[in-house]
Symmetry: C2
Subunit: 335 residues, 2 copies
DNA sequence: TTGCGATGATAAATCGATTTATCATAGGAT
DNA sequence: ATCCTATGATAAATCGATTTATCATCGCAA
């Protein structure tokens, strides 16, 4: 490998000078001629700075970890895209991690940080993690931003405007004439779940619609959990004419169960799901969704971590506002 | 941060001795008493070795990159799980990367390696990448294993036994009485696509069934591409009674298009898809799939990269054999 | 002519772990 | 008593980039 001293030698300058030129140090004093010679030498030799040496010296890696419960989940691609774009524009790298590993190996994050591999962590807690567990996951002084889950506490957090999303879904269904609207939510322990459920309750209240405990479930965001929720709901004595599902994955399960019972969507029951992903358009019928600003969430998380000015902050991504994507899973109630 | 010399000081030994003890150097000569003192000191101080310093000195990072076209894809979770488990058992770390970045920034991988951030790369080429492009992506001497795509050439490769998987799907459909079986494949440029198509052709030939160019498409593995393929196929003069779809994502699109045309699965047309993922069970009807040994593929890739003995190798994961998961998208032909 | 500030560049220390080359000391053999 | 060999441990070099402290040199003012 070509190293800095090789470049310096070829340019006929000291490593010190070469270093300053190449790292774009603005306070440096070098003649334009030398600067050019260094740049040329670096290019000719295909110089790439050694990351270990640099970060040993500077004690920073210019690398952030983005740790999420499930990289294969719907919400993830956009989130990662937003985070990576923002990171790239700031000259940072991002490494992906699956937070399932936190369950298997509780020290994983602490070790990652302790080894000095990363400068900070963007963490989405596994669904259903009690907020209290957060404490034990990270060291006191690790720069960390928790996204998409808790919205207060001793570390910085950023969340989506879940309430606005839920309200949008409800408004759509009410606009179609629905009164009996059920809610299929996340795990009761999780903070997102609680927020979305609260939003559902308050929006229903505002509209003067009945909120029945019978029409609410809290089994989780995964497809199988959504299906289990549908089973529970559809076996009640009375069944709502429309459902708000807090996650598109769960909605797939709901759809499967509805089909299995020979009911029809939207004729018998309408469905709106949170998060707009490609396969919302590939189900039958295609699912009406609420598109949330995930990309902006990712970018904001990077920004919050780097512009670590004000200590602990709690942010809500309000813009762009959630957006309804109408497909074919919603229609007016039957009667 | 606690460093090695702190541990050494507390244990009353030199950093040299502490280093050997902690890194488990078996050739070391230290008394049992000293070893204990070092271990205790390290534990008491919560010592974590600095990664930058270590890898600067040793010129290795004990980290591999796993780069795939789409981390949110069906096949990925298992693949990553297998790779991570194998890596963990060897004391290696894995960082995830999205190979879409290769398109945006062709130097990305080269830089990653050049900076010395990783010791090797497990790479799945973006679908449809001409194998020739591989050359330009990596440096001559980067340890690399290409998975799931090309199966020969100047770098080591590992592939699934696509032929066996396709054959299994065809056998199932033939067993149900189908003769007219279509094939919805990957992009024509891609090596996987070519392999699976070849397998389809030869298995059909062996069974003495007609292979019609009209019943084959090669538009890609994504959901929308599967749907486009279905459009193409269903507008032919004659339509097959069953379809083998080379990827479950594409199968979702196929299913959507079939529904949109008011055809019924499996009454009008049967479907088998490659790769078994949770949502195969959440579609309507649930899709019959072929489960491929993805976990083993991931593990084998790590092993191949690390046990870099024989130079370039070309491996096929034959065990466990592909496995048919029968659901409700297949039945006998109508008439 | 001497002195001083600005300018351009460099020597050398530093980051923390690993490893090579050495060094004591004790015990055994001659 | 002397020499030699294990044994246990350490000093110091090293990895490559960054940065602090220093050093020449030139131009200009006193």
């Amino acid at each position: 490998m070509v190293k800095l001293s090789d470049v310096a030698a070829r340019a006929g300058v000291s490593p010190a000078a070469a270093s300053r030129v190449l790292s774009g140090d603005s306070t440096v004093r070098v003649s334009e001629a030398t600067r050019q010679r260094v740049m040329v030498a670096a290019r000719e030799l295909d110089y790439v700075p050694n990351h270990a040496a640099r970060s040993l010296r500077t004690a920073r890696t210019r690398t952030l970890a983005l740790v999420v419960p499930d990289v294969t989940s719907a919400v993830f691609a956009e989130l990662a895209g937003g985070a990576e774009a923002e990171a790239a524009s700031r000259g940072l790298a991002i490494v992906l991690g699956r937070s399932e590993r936190l369950r298997e190996d509780g020290d994983w994050l602490r070790r990652l940080v302790g080894e000095g591999r990363i400068d900070g962590v963007i963490l989405q807690l596994p669904d259903g993690t009690p907020p209290a567990d957060l404490q034990s996951l990270v060291m006191q002084d690790t720069p960390i931003v928790v996204i998409n889950s808790v919205d207060d506490g001793p570390v910085s957090t950023i969340v989506l405007d879940d309430a606005a999303g839920i309200r949008l879904a409800l408004d759509h269904l009410r606009g179609l004439g629905h009164h009996d609207i059920g809610f299929i939510g996340g795990l009761p322990g999780s903070a997102t779940g609680a927020r979305r459920e609260a939003a559902y309750r308050s929006a229903m209240d505002e509209a003067g619609l009945p909120v029945s405990g019978e029409w609410m479930t809290a089994l989780g965001y995964a497809g199988t959990e959504g299906r289990a929720a549908a089973v529970e709901l559809l076996e009640r004595a009375s069944v709502p004419t429309a459902l708000v599902v807090a996650n598109l994955n769960a909605a797939l399960g709901v759809l499967a169960e509805i089909h299995a019972r020979n009911l029809r969507v939207p004729a018998d029951i309408s469905i709106v799901a949170m998060h707009d992903v490609w396969y919302a358009d590939a189900t039958w019928p295609p699912i009406t969704t609420v598109r949330m600003p995930l990309r902006e969430l990712g970018a904001a998380a990077v920004a919050a971590l780097v512009d670590d000015t004000a200590g602990v902050t709690h942010e809500v991504i309000a813009s762009p506002a959630p957006q309804l994507v109408v497909r074919q899973s919603t229609a007016g109630p039957r009667e």
